[in-house]
């Protein structure tokens, strides 16, 4: 009878005449739905297919426009199912003790050791169930993420949580704080707090894995003649020797000035030079350069 679901006549499915009023259709649907709703028939897997069919038919016939189009032959009885609903029966077993109601067999348990044991274990399980995990977000400064820090989160319930940020933490990494989640509803252990870390960008440092990258402005003189310049690193400024004849894009490596690794070693800081001409016109530089003829072509590689 219920075999071919795709093209069944919705009037036939609901068992109503083609002349049925909307009220007739509704009451026919309700009658069938009460019998077939999957959650009212948790043990009957056939009811679910049949319910889908009935609901699909009702979707057409309860909507005046869809019903008119079906009557006119513009649409058929298929493809009108509602989006898939997850029925409660799929979760009832796993929903845990919250919705359990064992009063349906509590009297039988008095005479049956097995049922009595089942009830006892169920209660114990409910009591010992751990609390839920809680999810938090924490923004940390770039340098705190590199060198490590302790930060305090204020929780919605007014309490606070101290989070130790290990040196070298990555953007998007999640820290698990054992036992800092929701308390158990019984006497089980509390859940965990999961803290997702976002790293704020820094004014001049960026990061590539364990390495710190920085673009360091230098004067024309420092680039051409070389010299010692002060470079910031996460652990404080250091002096760096710019070699003679450097240019924009030259990269110098400061060993061990990068981000801490798990094994205790450190990444490097990579310093990329950027030659800066004076921001204001400089008469001395102008007069000096007017007597100078460059003997190189910086646009050599750009010939068409």
């Amino acid at each position: 009878m219920f075999g071919d679901m795709s093209l069944r006549d919705p009037y036939e499915v609901l068992g109503v005449a083609r002349t049925a009023t909307p009220e007739d259709i509704r009451s026919a649907y309700r009658k069938l739905a009460k019998k077939l709703h999957p959650d009212l028939n948790p043990g009957d897997s056939k009811a679910e297919d049949r319910f889908k069919e009935v609901t699909g038919a009702y979707e057409i016939l309860s909507d005046a426009e869809k019903r008119r189009r079906f009557d006119a032959g513009e649409i058929d009885g298929s493809g009108t199912e509602r989006p898939q609903q997850h029925y409660y029966k799929e979760y009832a077993g796993a929903a845990g003790p919250r919705y359990q109601n064992t009063s349906g067999f509590a009297d039988l348990a008095e005479e049956d050791d097995f049922l009595a044991e089942l009830l006892r274990r169920r209660e114990q399980q409910a009591r010992r169930a751990p609390g839920a995990d809680r999810l938090y977000q924490l923004q940390v400064d770039f340098l705190d993420a590199v060198t490590g820090a302790t930060r305090r989160i204020t929780l919605p319930d007014g309490n606070s949580l101290d989070v130790t940020i290990p040196p070298g933490i990555q953007d998007g990494q999640t820290l698990r704080l054992r036992g800092k989640g929701a308390p158990s509803r019984g006497d089980g252990p509390p859940g965990d707090a999961l803290v997702e870390i976002t790293i704020r960008p820094h004014k001049f440092f960026t990061r590539d894995g364990d390495d710190i990258l920085i673009e360091l402005p230098v004067t024309i003189a420092e680039a051409i003649l070389g010299g010692k310049v002060k470079v910031p690193t996460p652990s404080g400024a250091v002096m760096l020797t710019v070699p003679k004849g450097s240019t924009t894009g030259s990269t110098l490596r400061l060993k061990g000035k990068g981000v801490a690794r798990r094994d205790g070693s450190h990444g490097d800081e990579l310093v990329k030079l950027k030659v800066m001409t004076p921001a204001q016109p400089d008469a001395e530089l102008e007069s000096f350069l007017s007597n100078w003829t460059p003997n190189y072509d910086p646009r050599r590689d750009m010939q068409p």
């Binding site: 739905a33 409660y88 349906g104 067999f105």
Partner: protein, 96 residues
């Protein structure tokens, strides 16, 4: 996974006031503190059932409470029965 109240209201297609009623009637029992309740997929499916009962089947408020109560008992009975049957099978295998 935990579902927040905002997400729950959206996915259950319901409003704050209705949800408050469901919770005070104990039809839905979220975890966590009242100020920040935490819902599960099971709670969401239960909300779907409540909606089906009220909107599609025309069950009134008192009826929903009765149905959910009996349904919870049925699920507990089904769980007890299936545990009993499984225990029976193991006994059979060990050869009594």
């Amino acid at each position: 996974m935990i579902i927040s109240k905002t997400e729950f209201l959206y996915r259950a297609q319901t409003d704050q006031e209705t949800l408050q009623l469901w919770i005070s009637e104990e039809w839905i029992a979220p975890q966590g503190p009242d100020t920040e309740p935490e819902f599960s997929e099971a709670d969401l499916a239960r909300a779907g059932l409540i909606r089906n009962l009220q909107q599609d089947l025309g069950v009134n408020k008192e009826g929903v409470g009765v149905i959910l109560n009996l349904l919870d008992q049925i699920h507990s009975l089904r769980w007890a029965l299936s545990s009993r049957l499984r225990a029976g099978e193991t006994e059979g295998e060990s050869g009594t």
